[in-house]
């Protein structure tokens, strides 16, 4: 009996100590942690690992990254599960802001999408300059194409490209030439490599994966493949417990000269993956996006 009682006292003391520590922490001036929902492309490429520690040091609290597809990142913001979102699907971002879910959208950077496929290139699209024509050719030759199929920014872009070519993909999702994988970019690249299939990918994830999947960049540089990223604070008027100050601190920092410089200097395998600012509408090809495209 006595031993049990002792144990209880110890537990109580521990709880008490934790409470005191908790209060002490709360009294401190450290800002609350910031929750950032972002796309798998920024996380998988390692960009966030290069940027966030610098910001965290300045801001004084950790940034908790939830990396999902653009669709879900925006939904997380909509529900107030995160404080700030960093995504790439311009139209959806505008809708998100227009609906009052987010405020203070800023352009941060851009990279580009590329069409990749097996080295043998059965559809014969290598070096084509217009992505639409390349997709048409893939479709006509009946080569396999793996789609993200997960409402991510990449998937939204892919669907738009098919639509612009007026290609209606087989109504049945079971059609064996167009596979809807419903997975992240890395998984889709791995799958495309294993199946000898074509896919649309962001350059960053591809560079990170290319050594192990046996796929080549076949089409790149079409201005329609530009992939701009925006950062949006979740509207504090909708969710009272949002860390709005933290969100704004991150937005201000990432679009500052320091933030943009860090983005520009981030390289994977010697290749720059993200370009600060907005993509130039004309002459897009000439600003260095074709480096390493071959």
């Amino acid at each position: 009996m006595e031993r049990v009682f002792d144990k209880n006292i110890v537990v109580l003391l521990l709880i008490g100590a934790m409470c005191v520590m908790g209060f002490a922490g709360a009294k401190d001036a450290t800002p609350p942690p910031l929750r950032l929902a972002t796309t798998t492309s920024t996380e998988n490429s390692g960009l966030l690992a290069a940027l966030l520690p610098v910001f965290e040091k300045k801001y004084g609290a950790p940034v908790r990254v939830i990396s999902v597809g653009t669709g879900q990142a925006l939904k997380l913001g909509e529900r107030g599960d995160v404080d700030v979102v960093l995504v790439h699907a311009r139209e959806d971002e505008d809708k998100f802001v227009a609906a009052g879910f987010g405020v203070n959208r800023r352009d941060v950077m851009y990279n580009d999408f590329i069409l990749v496929g097996p080295t043998a290139d059965p559809a014969g699209i290598r070096g084509m300059t217009r992505v639409g024509e390349a997709l048409k050719k893939i479709h006509e030759t009946g080569a396999i194409f793996v789609s993200r199929g997960d409402e991510s920014g990449t998937h939204i872009m892919e669907r738009r490209l098919w639509k612009e070519e007026n290609i209606v993909l087989a109504a049945s999702p079971g059609a064996r030439r167009y596979l809807s994988a419903g997975q992240g970019m890395g998984a889709v690249l791995t799958m495309s490599g294993a199946l000898g299939a074509y896919t649309l990918t962001d350059r960053g994830t591809f560079v990170a994966y290319k050594s192990r999947i046996g796929l080549d960049i076949l089409v790149s540089g079409d201005p329609r493949l530009a992939n701009p990223y925006g950062i949006i604070a979740v509207n504090p008027k909708r969710h009272a417990d949002i860390n709005f100050a933290g969100a704004m601190a991150l937005i201000d920092w990432i679009t500052s000269t320091e933030g943009l410089k860090l983005i520009a200097s981030f390289k994977v395998s010697g290749e720059q993956l993200f370009f600060p600012g907005v993509p130039p509408a004309a002459g897009y090809k000439k600003v260095g996006l074709t480096n390493g495209a071959g």
């Binding site: 999902v68 597809g69 669709g71 879900q72 939904k75 529900r79 199929g149 997960d150 409402e151 049945s172 999702p173 079971g174 059609a175 064996r176 596979l179 809807s180 994988a181 419903g182 997975q183 998984a187 799958m191 490599g193 294993a194 199946l195």
Partner: protein, 231 residues
Amino acid sequence: MELVDATREAFRLLLSGDGTLWTIVWISLRVSLFALLIATPPAVALGFFLAVASFPGRRACVIALQSLLSFPTVVVGLILFLLLTRQGPLGSLQILYTQEAMIAGQAVIAFPVLAAFALSAVQGADLRVRETALALGASRTQASWTTLVEVRFAVVVGVLSGFGRVISEVGCAMMVGGNIAGITRNIPTAISLETSKGDFEQGIALGVVLMVFAIGANLALAWAQGRGGLD
């Protein structure tokens, strides 16, 4: 409230006979039933063998089998993936990202469950059954068969447990199946995808179907155990 609205929509989807949804359910059932069909005979045979045979290392085999029960399914997925990938030893089969690969994965996952249930059932069976059969002039095979018939409900319990394990398994199915719409997208991988898309209605609808399966399997399990107890 989101959960309530989504649940209402989920039931509408289920009752309206939504094609995509029922395709997913069908794929799940087909893959899991095939996996059990393939895994059950050898697993029961192994369990039976381990229960009645005595040979050096038998104890180690039993321990190995029992530890396989808690073998992580994603590791099964990983190993199978490495075997089936193009450069892998079984790459020439070209079955990665097909239902066949998922069936293989689920068969491997169900195997230890089935074998362990058969093992404990045969161990728990009345030894006199076998001895009587042998004494009455039955051959070893006939005696074994008599014992198996004797423990059939316990074997069914094992099959139902195995079903419960594979029908809800997501890791291996995702890795070797690839979650391809209409081909290898089963209930667990679809729920995972729908949640990541924020489309909760379909996720909940599929979750309901999965729970119906689980409850059904458990009712059948209770029935089989009851029958087993009567014997």
